[in-house]
Amino acid sequence: MMAKNRISLEINGEAVEADVRPNRLLSDFLRDDLALTGTKRGCETGVCGACSVLVDGDVVKSCLSLAIQMNGCSLTTVEGLACDGAPSPLQKSFMECGGLQCGYCTPGFLMAASDLLARTSRPDVATIRKNLSGNLCRCTGYQGIVDAILDASEKMHGT
């Protein structure tokens, strides 16, 4: 067994220090070591996007990242989106527009959409679809998700 390495990072605004083995995946670190189970393990091969989180504001797949790579980084997981326990405008739009059914892919879509809306205040449908191309949903047919992001962008950034 290899020695563990100490990493310091910020997750959802809180400082975290942890000892991790170098081969610990970020997705496993979040779920199994920190009990942040909002981040889902789906395909675990970088295809489905259910494990998406933000690293320094950029959406990444946590199943294709090592926890040890995150030393010094600032992460946001789906648990970090709510404001004082209430759903964020983006989360509300997902509920109101039918942006989810079973909900398993939803954390990943929320993180991909958060990255997009932080960069582009009023994306068009083509831009939204392009920016969701790393996430799979087997329930909604995507239309509800696209509608939700359009709705959120309107509510967050005006018409």
Binding site: M2, P22, D115
Partner: protein
């Protein structure tokens, strides 16, 4: 995934020294998106990963009027896609990088990792070859530069020695008369890896093509320069018929991969279609009307 040691050198020379120290046991770790999959499938089991993640010097993108565009090998695909410098001087590269894989991978994977891993089912090699890229490779005993033409040797094989690190990709200053086109084919929009792609650089002198560079990628074990088609197109005024003939020749000249993602015949057909469309586009013809 088996256990390994994870080393984070702070300079390139420290990195090459670590690689030399650990020899065959060591493996370079860049963005990790491809390597982590290989490690998890135990296709590889290095005892030591030498991560280049802390080498800020290898992430820079800058333009020099004499040297051209200098892209640090640790630049991520989205760094390239969003770079004002790249978009200004080499829009085709920004577009290629911005369409590669998917948004998450573009935020994680690096151009250098992509090139060194040399998985054929990817976008950058063919595009960079068309632009005449040159690569800087550093080892323990100094640096060398090689043209991209000599880099991709075969399927997952590049012209690098153990212990060497790709540090920089250089694209020569753009020639304002030369236009570069890049197009790829995905079997479905949900698929992130092209089954074929094509890059074409051409000087269009009043309808006649000169200095043609035509490269097929993803459909071949390594990007392939289509010399025969280049010769055929050189000096020629391109009509719809010429584009169709060039397409037939491209499908004939290539050495396709045949695998579960597409057999040889399918890949030839895709390259035929891509060639006809791209050559027509380069000649300002509407390829949709050329059937």
């Amino acid at each position: 995934m088996r256990d390994f040691h994870y080393l984070e050198p702070r300079t390139v020379s420290e990195a090459t020294a670590m690689l030399a120290d650990h020899g065959e046991e060591a493996c370079v770790f860049a963005g990790g998106t491809a390597l982590i999959l290989a490690l998890r499938q135990r296709m590889m089991a290095p005892g030591v990963l030498v991560s280049l993640g802390q080498l800020e010097e290898m992430r820079a993108i800058r333009f020099d009027p004499k040297e051209g565009l200098l892209i640090g090998a640790m630049a991520r695909h989205n760094d390239i896609a969003r770079s004002k410098i790249v978009r200004q001087h080499y829009p085709v590269v920004a577009e290629m990088a911005g369409g590669l894989a998917n948004p998450q991978v573009r935020n994680q994977a690096t151009i250098g990792g992509n090139l060194c891993y040399a998985d054929p089912s990817t976008d950058p090699p063919a595009c960079l070859l068309a632009l005449g890229a040159e690569l800087t490779i550093k080892g323990q005993h100094g640096a060398r530069r090689i043209p991209m033409d000599e880099f991709n040797v075969d399927y997952f094989t590049v012209a690098m020695e153990p212990g060497e690190i790709l540090t920089q990709i250089r694209l020569p200053p753009p020639d304002q008369e030369v236009t570069t086109f890049y197009r790829r084919h995905l079997r479905t929009p949900a698929e992130h890896r092209p089954v074929a792609n094509l890059a074409l650089a051409v000087r269009n002198r009043g309808g006649a093509f000169e200095d043609v560079r035509l490269i097929v990628g993803a459909a071949t074990p390594a990007p392939q320069l289509l010399d025969g088609v280049q010769d055929y197109l050189s000096g020629r005024s391109v009509t719809a018929e010429v584009a169709a003939e060039a397409a037939d020749r491209a499908a004939e000249e290539m050495f396709p991969i045949s695998d579960g993602r597409g057999d040889e015949g399918f890949r030839r057909q895709v390259v035929r279609a891509l060639t006809r469309r791209l050559v027509a586009e380069a000649a300002n013809l509407d390829w949709k009307e050329t059937e």
